[in-house]
Amino acid sequence: MPQNEVIQDLGLDEYKYHFITEDEPVFRSGRGLNEKVVREISAQKDEPQWMLDFRLKALKIYNAKPMPTWGGDLSNLEAVLDEIYFYVRPQEKMERSWDDVPPNIKETFERLGIPEAEQKILAGVGAQYESEMVYHSLKKEWDDKGVIFDSIEDGLKNHPEIFREHFGTVIPSADNKFSAMNSAVWSGGSFVYIPKGVELDTPLQAYFRVNQEQMGQFERTLIIADEGSKAHYIEGCTAPVYSTESFHSGVIEIVVKPNAHFRYTTIQNWSNNMYNLVTQRALVHENATMEWLDGNLGSKLTMKYPSCYLVGEGAHGSVLSIAYSGDGQHQDTGGKLIHAAPHTTSQIISKSISKGTGRSTYRGLCQVHEGAVGSKSNVECDALLINETSRTDTYPYIEIEEKRSNIGHEATVSKVGDEQLFYLMSRGMSEEEAMALIVRGFIEPIAKLLPLEYAVELNRLIDLEMEGSVG
């Protein structure tokens, strides 16, 4: 009987990113969200007046908007928000050299394998710890070509014109309650500019870590891919497991100019006590392509629907979404595709796995505006249920105002087939191995689009999660 070494070697049965770094932040706001906190954050960042005004206006919008009653269970969220720190500054300034990062933070990221990855496969790396980017670097060859890869704060300081032209235009503060919250208290995140015609052959990566108990992380990322450029941006997220709940609410705005090609990959593996409510949206111009690759594996509750607003003729948008919900987790994810110009095309492929008491929800919108002739969209959702207690939902919204368009949606729900299991077990696999193999096969169409390191990580996670899942 062949031994599956990967499974044997892992021998882990808990969240591997659980480790707490002992440190003392440089500055920490009070608990809860109020005007004082917003002013403190703005002062800490030494911001121009317009940004403070922007934040204060967003706070008003946040307070005026009701808590969503759809999606996941947010009934306890207001109590959580009253207790968390909205801003925690871990060090005085951001570093450009890895050696200058404080040792405890450095150790954290070393344990997560970031510096190693930077040397091998990345064009640039940003690392956020609590509320601030602690490290940002870009390989010299890209710097020379005019690529900007910086913290969002430095983006505002050093490139005020292009920053202000785009900031808050893709996702207005009033878009939803949590985009309003982020607009009021944002801190950290990346500012990326890819100049005309520049094609990055390796990805940029940002890594987000929440270390402190009861804190909220509100990164804000603004990306502009200029005409004919091409790039891939990856974000990864982890946090240690505390008994209390934490909160993460990012806003990601992307402008993909004509003929550009941008891919944004998220591998979210927050600890299972994290609320993760994120707004991600791309404005896609003529003949440009935007691809969201969205992997949601961690968190207690994620509500995230990466969007493509296809505003230029011939624009293409796609969302590849993979969700894993284990015990007590709810992944409420999907995508939004807005066809606002002729001959735009889009697709969503969503795969989810629900195990134990986990719940995976696909929620999506496909909208074709009048005049968006010749638009095509196709949505496919597949859900796999591992246990009798698992749950899956599919909520697609399809709104079509243009007859010269072609829109389809398909979804299937299944459990791992007894025949499939029997076949593999008759070839000498244990039931657990067979289960892991089937699940890996199920997510393979998406996993193969990931950079190798992530694909390996995803497969390792699947193996890990399938342990003890049988029966």
Binding site: N176, L365, T394, K403, G408, A411, T412, V413
Partner: protein
């Protein structure tokens, strides 16, 4: 999705929809000479109506139908009950036309303005204990059955604003009761006609097919064009006991001016088959709430529907397939073809409850946009809480298949005729799945007529 639909608090919605004519006094007047249990049930329903806020587009289920713009309750006076008889010589031509094809039936019933005017049931079935009668008569003749099943298990008043309104204000309706083992080959045909414009009509239907029985039921509701907005509310409750087989067909051909609210719930017990077909052609606004509940092991429900919209007609279909029991199956196929500025909404949900293992549930919605200004919204939802299930859904929205058109035109057909054939073929698929005698021809005829116009 960007903004959250919110359910208003009870206080905000208190007394919404209470008008000069639709109020507690109207209910009390109706209930005055009724048995105590029924009077109490009406008043409890009225309480539910008063405390339920008027649905707004912030509610998921009403997202695409804005009642504040589409329905004005204020001028609507409920049609009072009065004894009526059916006089063929004085009957509206439209009603006679509709009845023309319905000769071959196990029984007939005619309802005018919400009041039953005539019933006849073949003697062979009457002698076997089949009951086809007006609901008012049934309150007297079958009080226990009515008390047990009217607005209790299937459509209780607290289900929603309009369920409550109908349960409080129904004037009359239909009871069909098929005893154990009785099989009726030919359908029961019901013709309902609305004459009074500018009024509110409330009618209920209760159908019970006992163990091992078999019956099909065709309900056709129609009217001439109505000069002012007319509310037509139909509440339909259908029960199939173990091993029973039932087909329910509803054909809606109301004139413009009608706001049709059709609320249907079917409850299928063990190994029974309960299929429905809803054809919506008429009315200015037609809202259908259809819930199929599979409560017995091995129950099966096929749910079919089609709508054909033109001008500024607005159709809103809200369906659910509730799998409570294991090993049950349901299969839904709804299709819409939309011309001019017509609009259709399909919101469907398959809900597999915990423990409903071995469920097979499917849901398909297909839409054809025939004009630049037509619009279709489709929300096919799934909620699955059991693992050993086979569920899928699909939705498509598009224009006429160009290959089909090209094929027909290459055979020498002019474009207009080819288009017509493709539309009829598209909608005809629904009819071929429930080929009840007379219904297929009738619906095909209506659609052809519309396409020629």
């Amino acid at each position: 999705m960007a903004e959250s639909p919110t359910i208003e608090g009870p206080v905000a919605g208190m007394m919404e929809g209470v008008t000069e004519h639709l109020n507690r006094q109207t209910v009390e007047a109706l209930a005055a000479d009724e048995p105590k249990w029924l009077a109490e049930r009406r008043l409890a329903a009225w309480d539910a109506y008063e405390r339920t806020p008027m649905p707004t587009t912030r509610l998921e289920e009403w997202r695409y139908t804005d009642l504040s713009r589409k329905l004005d309750l204020a001028p609507l006076r409920p049609v009072p009950w009065e004894a009526r008889s059916f006089d063929r010589s004085a009957a509206p031509a439209g009603l006679l036309d509709a009845m023309e094809d319905d000769r071959e039936a196990s029984g007939h019933l005619v309802e005018l303005d919400g009041t039953v005017a005539s019933t006849d049931l073949r003697e062979e079935f009457a002698s076997k204990g089949v009951v086809l009668t007006s609901l008012r008569a049934a309150v007297e003749s079958h009080p226990e059955l009515i008390q047990e099943l009217l607005a209790t298990q299937a459509l209780p008043a607290d289900l929603g604003k309009f369920q409550a309104l109908n349960a409080a204000l129904w004037t009359d309706g239909i009871l069909l009761y098929v005893p154990k083992g009785v099989r009726m080959e030919r359908p029961i045909r019901v013709s309902r006609w609305i004459e009074s414009a500018g009024k509110a009509h409330f009618s209920r239907t209760l159908i019970v097919a006992e163990e091992g029985s078999q019956v099909s039921y065709v309900d056709e509701i129609g009217s001439d064009p109505l000069s002012s907005q007319t509310l037509v509310s139909s509440a339909v409750e259908v029960f199939t006991r173990p091993n029973a087989q039932l087909q329910y067909v509803s054909l809606q051909r109301l004139g413009r001016g009608a706001f049709h609210l059709s609320q249907q719930r079917t409850i299928a017990e063990k190994d029974s088959t309960l299929d429905t077909l809803n054809v919506s052609i008429g009315a200015s606004v037609a809202r259908l709430d259809l819930n199929a509940r599979l409560v017995g092991l091995g129950a099966n429900s096929d749910m079919l529907g089609l709508c054909f919209g033109e001008d500024d007609q607005h159709f809103d279909h809200n369906t659910s397939q509730d799998h409570v029991a294991p090993n049950a199956t349901s299969d839904l196929l709804y299709k819409g073809a939309l011309d001019d500025r017509a609009r259709s909404v399909f919101r469907g949900i398959i809900k597999v409850h915990r423990g409903a293992l071995g469920t097979d549930a499917y849901q398909t919605n297909r839409n054809l946009l025939l004009s630049e200004k037509a619009r279709a919204d489709s929300l096919p939802n799934l909620e699955i809480e059991a693992d050993d299930v086979r569920c899928s859904h699909g939705a498509t929205i598009g224009q006429l298949d160009q290959d089909h058109l090209f094929y027909l035109m290459s055979r020498g057909l002019p474009r207009s005729l080819a288009e017509r054939l493709v539309v009829i073929g598209f909608l005809g698929e629904i009819l071929s799945r429930l080929p009840l005698g007379g219904v297929v021809e009738k619906v095909t005829g209506i659609i052809e007529e519309k396409l020629h116009a």
